[in-house]
Every structure is written in structure tokens, then in C-alpha cells.
Amino acid sequence: MTVPTALLRPGRTRTLAAFGLATVLLLLAPAVLSPFRLDLLAKFLCLAMVAVGIGLAWGRGGLLTLGQGVYFGLGGYLMAMHLKLADAGPGGVPDFMLLYGTGQVPGWWEPLRSPVAAIGLILLVPAVVAGLLGWAVFTRRVRGAYFAILSQALAAAFAILLIGQQQTTGGTNGLNGFRAFFGYDLADPANKQMLYLIAAAVLLVMIAVVRGLTASRFGELLVAVRDQEDRVRFLGYDPALVKVVAYVVAAVMAAVGGALFVPVVGIISPADVGVVPSIGFLIGVAIGGRATLLGPVLGSIAVSWAQTSISEQFPSGWIYFQGALFILVVAFLPGGLASVTGLLPRRRSAPAHDDGGTGTEPGTGLAAEGNRA
């Protein structure tokens, strides 16, 4: 018997249990929620995909990814462009281009006519952008707040760029009015339910991927880079490479979230990709507990849900509530709500066993609330 597997076991069982519970809850949701609420939950799940990636890059890798709106937007806009072209039919021109543009489809839109190319580009474009940007930034040892500011600036610039290109990106209105998703009519509730199930499945796969990465040697290395970057360098690794991998994974997850967000919500606009949503992604992760596996997901879902329900009653109240909650969590619960379990009295076990699963209980409660909404 080797000691590590013996030690991993309890955390693993708990993670598997939490994973199973999450799966059951997600599968039950269509049965108990109205189509409207189910749609809302699907939207939350798409936003939570961004959070899963941030949990890896920020929670494990210490990269303060304050500009994930860029990748969310890249995925979202690429998907929206494809849906627009598909709606227009072979050789057709999307409606808004006839209205505001030249009535011609720009050359860089053309590749997105093919569904396969669209899916490929949704994965590839954010990966390449994040890879190049990450490489440029991390090899120059830009870290911490500087990296965060850079990410923010990028998100702002991206939103401004989109607004300025009314003829080809829809400008402030963004892209909307999609009729079908890969041939399936989006007005049909059965198809919306299918979309929800796709989002749930993709989210679960992403959680599994992050879990696998975290438990791998790469995951250990990522923590080492976060805590002692120079030491890692003296062991013969290039920390920039390690960070780039985490950053690219987070970017692709954000892009997939954005891509699924488009058919679920029916619109993507610069307001979904700029500075404010970028910070919003991070807040959910911070509140849930960035260093845990499920904390980011549950925190993100909880924040989205709270945002929706509070905005329904007090249209302008949300922003204050979010700010207050964020300050409270940062000041008093740096580990996020997931760390509440650590504060509760509990049976003493070997310290090493407390890891991994810490985020599950309170978060599950939050998720249940989210489902009830």
C-alpha cells in the first residue's frame, strides 16, 4: 500500500459524492422548474463555466484573471456569428447587416458558415489569443495586480472595439434574434431543455477536467508556481509555461461558456464581455471559495441567482449588494464561503484529510437554493 493513495481516498470519495449529488440535482431540475426558470438556470451554468476556469487559473495558479469577459465574448460572438449565418441560409446575409451594413458579409465572417469550423474556432481562437498573450505577459514576469490591470484593460478594449463595429458586430445591440441552434428551433421548449442538458453536461465535464488537472502533477506544479515562482525556476522548469497552460484552459472554458450562453439567452452584446461582467465572474469565484473544486461553480451560480432575484425587486440594489458581499467575503472569509466548513466544529481527523472536499457542504445548500428560485 502506498501512502499517497491511502491519503487521497477520503477526499476522492467526498469529491465523487459531491459530483454525484450535483449530477442528480442538475438532472432533476427540468422536472421541477418552469421553462423560464430552467432557462435561467442554464444561463447560470454557462456563467459558471467561466468560474470553473477561473478556479483553476486563480485559485490554483494565483493568476488574477480579471478579464475573462474577453474569452467569454470571443466564444459568444463566434457562436452568435455562426447562428446568424445559419439563420440567413446558404449564401444569405444576416438581417442586421442589411439594416446597418453594406449588405455584404465580410470575409472574416465566411468561415463561420460551417458548423464544424464554428465549433473549432470557438475552441481555437481563445486558446491562441490566451496562449500568445499569456506567453508575452508571463515571460516578462508581469504578475499580480499588473496582470489584473492588463486583463481589465483588454476587456475594456474588446468591448469598445465591438461597439465601434456596428456594421459587422451589431455594435451596442450585439447579436440577437437567433432562430435555430444547429438546425434545432430555439422556440421549441423541448430544444431549450436539451440546451440546458448540454450546458449541465459540459459544466460537469469541465469540473472533472479541473479536478483531474488539480490532482495531476501539473496541478502540484501550478500550486508550486503560485507560491514560490523563483524556486520552481531553480528546479529547471519555466514557470511561464505552467501559467500559460492554466490560463489557456481557463480561456477555453470561458469561451465555451460564452458560446453556450448565446443560444440559451438569445443575445450577446458588449455589455456581456466588458469590465463589469469580467469582475462579476471573479466575484462569484471569490465568494464561493476560489481554491476549492466546487466553490467557484456554486459561488458563481449563487451570485447569478441572487443578482436575478434582487434585481427583480430592487432594480438598482444588486450592485450595492454585490459590492458589500464581496467586501465581507474578502475581509472575513478569504477562503470564500467554502471555508465556512473549516470554521464549524467537527470531528477531528488527520489534517491531510481536510483538503479537497472542503467546499462542498455550504455550497450545495446554495445550489439547492438556486434551484428553488
Binding site: F218, E220, L221, R231, L235, G236
Partner: protein, 341 residues
């Protein structure tokens, strides 16, 4: 992540690996850091070292560190100047000097942490101008004045990372299923087998330094630069560390920065003395101890700003036994490297 345990818990966790209580006699080799309940025939520590280092003394005969005309400047302040240094395998070299002499800066320059001019070659290949991780891959390993291990990771994970710089990407993306043999041997060598699954952050200071030495071993460094490796260790722990360094020194090129003169007298093969960025003297322990220039520096003449030795506490003509206690390093020197604590 989990919070760091309270100090009480820390002390408790550190206890299992208590140092041997009585000092070993000269012929009773005290290299038994992992001493279990029953005494063993061979000191496990050095046996593990044998397995890691191999016994082939010819293979790396040509590895040697050759520093020529090294110069490091910080905004006009010259921290290291005109340093020539040659260290060969089998010659356990100690590098001493008052606080601020430039010892750490010299190591920083050789490992690519600070920019330097001149030349520093190991095994015939130039190190200056290469990036730190490339220098590490060329077989150069170092430790820091303040132990810097990955505190949130376990002892085993620390060693496994140190062993893995040459792993392929696909291996990295998989979970560790077995402990690599080198890691197993290093655990034994540095006596941390019982602590393998503890987070490195809860280790006692001396254990952290052992872990660092273990990391250098599994990293397969052929040039080891150790910055005050026995600072904060008990006498018995120093003795064990010294034995281990001797063992490593017979197979690798080792440079040890140390303030503890007793430790130096027991284990150094040769000594280089630095002062104000220059090499002041070089030779055997006896030679440098009787060098008038060295004596002057260590007795604290008016020209010596560090003043780390109260004059008159040591007999003239010898280097004081504890010229500068290891923990007497100025606060700025400890914090400058940007490490916690």
C-alpha cells in the same frame, strides 16, 4: 486551501523527527536522521545518498565550476568584483565572509538571478546570460538563505516536483501513481520518510533545509550551491548535515556558504573568504585561519562596517569560532530575496 496549523500543532508535527540525543563519537557516524525505533546496521541516510549519488567517481571528474572576473553591480553599487573561483568535484568548498560580503550575490549571479559580467562556467559551458531554468537544467542547483520550500505541498510533492523538470507534458498531466525511486531514496537520505505526507510548511526549520537538500539530490544537480544550509540547526543536526554534504561533495561540485566556524572546521576541504565583494583569501582551513588579512576582517577593524564581531571576545590570531551567528544576517538581506519570512 487549508489554513496553516497553529504553532502548537506545528511543534507537535515537527517532533516525530527528533534529532539523536547524544552526539555521536567520531567513529560512530551520526548519519541516522530517519532513525526508527530499532537501530539499524547502516545509517539509512548515507545509504540512501549512496543510491542517489552512485559510486562512480570518474564520471563527473570533469565537472568543475570556473568563475572568472565576475562582477555584479546594483545601480552603481558593486556587490561583487573581480571574483575568480575554481571548485572541483571532491573538494567541499566553503565560502565565508562577513555580512554583505557578496556571497549570496555570487550564487545569485551563477544561477542567473542577477545580471553579471565576466564568466561562470560549469562543465565547460557558460552559465552567464542564460535564463535561470536553463541554468538549472544544465545541472546547477541551489538553496536559499531562508528555506524556500512549497509550504502547501507535502514533502513528497516537493521532492516529486524537484525530480520532474525533464518530465514530458503527458506525464505531467497525469496523477502520480507511484513514488519515483529517486524520491524514495531522497526521503530516506534526508530523514523525512515519516513526514512524507505532511505539508512542508509545518516542518521544523532544520527539516525544511534538509528537504531542500533532498530536492537538490533528486533534481540531479551536479553543482550544488548551498546558502547557509545549517542555519538554525541543532549541533546534532549540523553534524548529520555535514556528513551528508561530505558524502555529496565526493560525487558532486559543492559550494557551501556558512558563518558557523566550527561547522567549517569539521567539514570544509577548502575555504574561500570574501570581503566587500572580493575574494580575500583561499586555501585550507588552517591556511585561511592564519591569514592576517582574514583575521583582520573578522576581528572588525574600523574599516569593517558590518561589525558583526564584538572586538576582544576572541583570541587574536584565530578566526573566532562563531564569528557571526548564522541568524545574525541583517533583516534586509533576509527579505531581499522576496521570500516569505
Amino acid at each position: 486551501m487549508t489554513d496553516t496549523p497553529s504553532t502548537g500543532q506545528r511543534a507537535e508535527l515537527a517532533r516525530p523527527h527528533a534529532a539523536p540525543e547524544k552526539r555521536g563519537t567520531p567513529d560512530d557516524r551520526p548519519g541516522t536522521p530517519a532513525a526508527g525505533p530499532a537501530p539499524r546496521a547502516t545509517p539509512p541516510g548515507l545509504a540512501g545518498a549512496d543510491a542517489l549519488l552512485g559510486t562512480d567517481t570518474t564520471r563527473f571528474r570533469h565537472d568543475y565550476l570556473e568563475v572568472r572576473g565576475l562582477r555584479v553591480e546594483f545601480d552603481g553599487f558593486v556587490a561583487v568584483r573581480d571574483v575568480d573561483l575554481t571548485v572541483t568535484q571532491g573538494d567541499l568548498r566553503f565560502l565565508i565572509g562577513p555580512n554583505g560580503a557578496g556571497k549570496t550575490t555570487l550564487i545569485d549571479a551563477v544561477t542567473g538571478l542577477v545580471r553579471a559580467t565576466g564568466s561562470a562556467a560549469f562543465g565547460g559551458s557558460e552559465l552567464l546570460g542564460r535564463t535561470t531554468h536553463r541554468i538549472a537544467r544544465a545541472g546547477v542547483g541551489r538553496t536559499f538563505q531562508t528555506a524556500s520550500v512549497f509550504e502547501e505541498l507535502t514533502v513528497l510533492q516537493n521532492l516529486d516536483i524537484a525530480a520532474g523538470a525533464r518530465r514530458r507534458p503527458l506525464t505531467l498531466l497525469r496523477r502520480r501513481t507511484t513514488t519515483p525511486p529517486a524520491v524514495e531514496q531522497a526521503l530516506e537520505t534526508v530523514g523525512l520518510t515519516a513526514q512524507r505526507d505532511l505539508p512542508a510548511g509545518v516542518l521544523a526549520h532544520g527539516q525544511k533545509q534538509w528537504l531542500e537538500i533532498g530536492m537538490l539530490l533528486v533534481q540531479d544537480a551536479h553543482l550544488l550551491l548551498l546558502d547557509e544550509p545549517v542555519a538554525g540547526m541543532t549541533q546534532a543536526e549540523r553534524e548529520e548535515t555535514g556528513q551528508l554534504l561530505r558524502r555529496i561533495g565526493s560525487q558532486r561540485v559543492v559550494v557551501v556558504v556558512e558563518h558557523d566556524m566550527e561547522f567549517l572546521r569539521s567539514f570544509a576541504d577548502s575555504v574561500t573568504v570574501m570581503h566587500q565583494g572580493r575574494v580575500l583569501a583561499e586555501g585550507t582551513v588552517a591556511e585561511v585561519q592564519n591569514d592576517p588579512a582574514v583575521v583582520e576582517v573578522y576581528l572588525g577593524t574600523p574599516a569593517e562596517p558590518a561589525g558583526d564581531v564584538p572586538a576582544g571576545t576572541v583570541p587574536a590570531g584565530t578566526v573566532p569560532a562563531d564569528a557571526a551567528p548564522a541568524d545574525a544576517a541583517p533583516a534586509d538581506a533576509a527579505t531581499r530575496e522576496g521570500e516569505p519570512r
